[in-house]
Symmetry: C2
Subunit: 198 residues, 2 copies
């Protein structure tokens, strides 16, 4: 019988295994072993490794949504402070994994977007939604007079999502949070610097 | 007997297979099959898959060095034009692979830097050398009066290498070169904009 507790265990522990070792690098055997469930449980709950991968992305995305609600979409904070908090949360997440794992979305993008079209499409949706939250925050910053009204919020948001992915990747490679700190510094001192009257 | 022609074939064809399918995703069987050599050839020439991976990185890096010599370190071009040419070459490379493969260094960083310490260290060296070439180009731009003398060339170079990795990754995910074009536009219109007298 398929135990639903096994399903949750495979997903939550499996997400960590995939985050650390990569999607191709984490075998089904590794995942069930780490979750402490019988090997057959995996096939009881997931029709394929790709189906499991899609659910791992959704589980990680649920955490990302929570972070975005508390930062980028948190109307109680001044807009640019929300963006700073979002980048700081990214950094804290990297530190929690000893700067070894990077961003799960970025890792999937690097290794699985060519192999699985459903995974690639899901990642496109995820990045679009993160970008929309950043753009929402930037529009609030324009409205509050924190950045120049001439800022192209959508283009800048897409640039932020992309560059932050690069900083995640470099953090993982260098085992140092300097790339994220540098990104934040250059973003606020140059790209978002308000040269207007405010 | 170990044929040296097999070695070269395994490396050059294997680099393409790894670039497309990832390091973990490309099995030794896939590699020798694509190279059209006997399975035993691989173990004749490479003590491990990790040793093969390190040589793949070196082969790709030889191409990168050539590109850097023709662009970032090409003293015959005005400095910022060298940087533009370097980014354009990145874009051309992505288009050649139908925007499916991204940067081989970035892919290795995402999936293998946690698994193999020698691979991670080699990537750190590679990124350092690319960053040094970008910084060299930026210092020439300062000297030529193309950018502000207050520009921190080393920090900006590190930011460019990191953000370009992100743009490579997004290009691969979206199957569009827009992320690289957007990065170039924001880099030149904002971060490198000369607000001084020149």
């Amino acid at each position: 019988m398929a135990k639903s507790s096994h399903r949750e265990k495979i997903l939550s522990v499996g997400m960590e295994v995939v985050h650390r070792h990569g999607f191709a690098g984490a075998s089904v055997r590794d995942i069930v072993k780490a979750a402490g469930v019988p090997q057959g449980s995996f096939t009881n709950h997931f029709v394929s490794k790709e189906a499991f991968g899609l659910e791992v992305i959704d589980l990680y995305y649920a955490n990302a949504l929570k972070t975005m609600a508390e930062t980028l979409r948190n109307e109680e904070l001044p807009p640019l402070q929300r963006l700073r908090a979002y980048i700081d949360r990214t950094k804290e997440r990297l530190i929690r994994n000893e700067m070894r794992n990077g961003c799960l979305f970025g890792n999937f993008a690097a290794e699985a977007s060519e192999v699985s079209e459903p995974i690639r499409q899901r990642l496109v949706e995820v990045f679009d939604e993160v970008q929309a939250a950043v753009a929402h925050c930037l529009r609030a910053a324009v409205k509050a007079g924190e950045v120049s009204p001439s800022l192209d919020c959508d283009e800048t948001a897409a640039f932020i999502v992309s560059s932050l992915q690069g900083a995640n990747l470099m953090t993982k490679t260098l085992r140092s949070t300097v790339p994220v700190e540098r990104f934040k510094e250059i973003l606020f001192s140059s790209i978002l610097r308000h040269t207007g009257s405010a």
